[in-house]
């Protein structure tokens, strides 16, 4: 037990969007925990039936103790004019589905008719996740041409992109007929959130390597060589992510709490270590040093992101000086000393970077948290109608402090509204005062509605029950439910205004993507960004002997 009694960080600070939008990957990230869980599973390439141009079907699988997960890949020709990363696209270079078990030919034929169609196709409960991807044509063609001429591709060119393919959506949990989560949630190997989505992306990465090697070989059978493994390892899978992710973190409050709480608990436990041994400290410093290659190769045209990257770089220089000058291994509660200095002297981007780095030496702290990052959301759905309004008022005052201070009478506080587009059923955000459709606003303006709730209960008899209040105020039922959830789960709410004029939706995307384990956030606007996943990750045949710090091995 720590004598310092270090507390979890204040949700009112941590849950601000600027802070959440400064989160980085860590040992808790889902793609790293996926590799830790599946490294000793049997990997196989079961079917590889591509033509000379790389079009056709391939199947990859992971198997252990009679459990099998298979990725089925469908690669096809598309006209370059049809290639688009936007969610409104209807054709992609390749489409993928993760199947529960080994698919039969009948399954493959059924899926061949549906998977390439994506949102307008239908999957069955035997399919778990669904995705599609487009080639980075510039890189893909360069790699194929180089290999077929007997040369390895230009590493400098590869480092500017970092992948051969970009996924543009990864769907799971019952979408388009896929298996509902409840069917598989008790499987221990997939306790971590999004584990099957992470599996899909990992196997897609392997497919991209096999496909370039295959095409190069057909193009020039005598001269073609295989992609060098060191180069392949430094390629990941790109991803273009739009607003679809933003409502997710609002619509799953207990899950959001679990993710943030476990990160905060890890930080608290690490800060509470009284004596840090030199191996741990050296490990931390090594990871920090190696991670610089990710920052140095983090390229973006986004002014917003470049400002953050530059602040990270300059803060890390300050941090290095502090570490060298003022951090003695003998210092009691060294991590706490470091954290307090970081919080006082550095900006959010670097504070959260160091928080992620501090986790690196501590498997024993992180591993038990991984299995605790899912949530049984149904358990917290019912509203306790018998509670008094005075109780609800206290909850709002305690749990939504920053929110009830916002003045929603100002036009700037309500500039935006969230809606679902009709053509692809995707979330969008638009200006309430300039665009049509605000009357169909989605219930994602939580801060505004919490404030409305607060103002209304101030005028209500405090001894009334919540059930009485809801009889005449059912327009606020959705936030009454949330308030009772927030009472139990302090990190369940974003403590910011998600419809204000200064909203940066990419902060919401980055929060989620950092938990995925994505790096190199490259905003293309305030509403969508590109990222890289699995860059530096062990190749499929290297999984068994892989080490969890692979993410820092990337050279690109």
């Amino acid at each position: 037990m720590s004598k310092l009694n270090i507390k979890l960080r204040d949700p009112n600070e941590v849950m601000k969007l600027s802070r959440l939008g400064s989160f980085h990957q860590s040992k808790l990230s889902f793609l790293r925990s996926f590799i830790r869980e599946f490294k000793d599973w049997e990997y196989k390439r079961n079917i590889f039936e591509l033509d000379k141009d790389g079009y056709g079907v391939a199947v990859y699988s992971f198997e252990k103790n009679k459990r099998n997960y298979s990725l089925i890949c469908f690669a096809q020709y598309i006209n370059p004019n049809e290639r688009s990363d936007r969610v409104i696209a209807t054709k992609w270079d390749a489409a993928f589905v993760l199947h529960d078990g080994m698919p039969t030919r009948k399954d493959i034929n059924r899926l061949k008719e549906n998977v390439p169609k994506q949102e307008i196709g239908r999957m069955s409960y035997k399919e778990l996740t669904l995705s599609r991807a487009n080639k980075s044509v510039r890189i893909f063609d360069h790699v194929v041409n180089s290999l077929s001429s007997g040369n390895q591709p230009d590493k400098n060119l590869l480092s500017k992109v970092g992948y051969l393919y970009r996924t543009t959506a990864v769907y799971g949990s019952g979408k388009f007929g896929l298996a509902d989560r409840f069917r598989i949630k008790n499987r221990k190997e997939i306790y971590g959130p999004f584990r099957l989505e992470m599996m899909l992306v990992y196997l897609v990465r392997q497919f991209t390597f096999d496909q370039v090697n295959h095409i190069a070989k057909f193009k020039n059978p005598d001269k073609a060589i295989k992609l060098d493994e060191n180069i392949a390892r430094n390629l990941g899978i790109g991803n273009s992510t739009g607003l679809g992710m933003a409502p997710f973190i609002v619509n799953h409050p207990t899950l959001l709490h679990k993710w943030i709480y476990n990160r905060e608990k890890a930080l608290k436990d690490i800060r509470s270590i009284e004596t840090v041994n030199s191996d741990e400290f050296i490990f931390f410093k090594n990871c920090l040093a190696k991670s610089r290659s990710i920052i140095d190769t983090w390229l973006t045209d986004s002014q917003y992101q470049n400002k953050k990257i530059n602040s990270l770089k300059s803060d890390l220089i300050e941090f290095d000086k502090f570490i060298e000058k003022d951090c003695l291994i003998k210092t009691k509660y060294l991590w706490n000393t470091i954290y307090l200095w970081v919080e006082k002297n550095l900006k959010e981007e670097c504070i959260e970077y160091i928080v992620s780095m501090m986790m690196e030496p501590y498997d024993k702290i992180i591993d038990p948290l991984i299995g605790n990052m899912s949530s049984e959301e149904e358990l917290y759905f019912s509203i306790p109608g018998h509670r008094k309004i005075s109780v609800l008022k206290t909850i709002l005052e305690k749990k939504y402090q920053p929110i009830i201070k916002i003045n929603f009478k100002e036009k700037n506080s309500t500039s935006n509204f969230w809606f679902i587009s009709k053509n692809k059923e995707e979330p969008r955000v638009a200006n309430r005062y300039e665009e049509h459709g605000a009357e169909l606003e989605q219930p994602l303006a939580i801060a505004r509605d919490i404030k409305r709730l607060y103002e209304r209960i101030l005028k209500t008899n405090q001894s009334e029950t919540v059930a009485d209040f809801l009889l005449n105020n059912d327009d606020l039922r959705h936030v009454v439910r949330r308030a009772f959830i927030a009472d139990q789960f302090p990190y369940s709410e974003i403590q910011d205004n998600t419809i204000g004029a200064s909203l940066m939706p990419i902060d919401m995307l980055r929060l989620k993507l950092s938990f995925f384990g994505a790096v190199k956030f490259d905003p293309k606007s305030d509403k969508w960004l590109r990222i890289n996943m699995y860059q530096g990750a062990p190749l499929s045949h290297e999984l068994k002997n892989s080490d969890d710090t692979w993410i820092y091995n990337s050279l690109n």
């Binding site: 069955s124 409960y125 949990s173 019952g174 979408k175 388009f176 007929g177 896929l178 298996a179 509902d180 989560r181 409840f182 149904e378 759905f381 019912s382 509203i383 109608g385 018998h386 679902i420 219930p443 029950t465 919540v466 059930a467 809801l470 009889l471 059912d474 327009d475 606020l476 039922r477 959705h478 936030v479 009454v480 439910r481």
Partner: protein, 203 residues
Amino acid sequence: MMSFSEIETTAKRASKAAGFSWGIAEEIGKSTRSLELFGLPGIINLNHYLKKIKKKHPTKIIKIEKENKTEGKELCPIYSGITFLDRCLELEKLKSLKFYNVSYPLLMLPFISRASEVMSKKILIQYNNSSFLLNFDKSIFSKNIDKQAQPQANIVDIEFIENKNSFSKQDWKELYKLSEETFVEESDSLKATAAGAGLTDND
């Protein structure tokens, strides 16, 4: 086949479009999913009911009493169900309730089922020759289920079932006696050595 996640999302959105608030629509989404999970015709009943009320939104039920009716109007199964759920702990003392002239009564069921869990009591619902025993929102045992939409019930009877066993003392005694055959008869030696505590507690 539609996944349960798709059922929940579509039911929620359709309910909002039909005039319910988002908070109520969330409840309807969960309830429809729950009906379909239990093998009951949630989607059919909801679809018919939402079509019926899209132009004229139903009246809310203000209070729940032993006997519930609104003069000349049908009771809304959603508002009745949700108000029942929100107030279930105070309704327990009534032991049984009646709702008269209820539209699409099946849609009330999931709310009462959730109330059964909140109250830790089984609840029996009967209408139109169908009966449903709601078991703490874990299962629904039903008789004479109509797989089609039932637009109306004259009377919906709700009865709270006291927590009591379904078997006789004799049945229990016999079963317990059989279970004793898994025990070991304790010798003096076992009494002295096999237990954790001392022979006396006066030390």
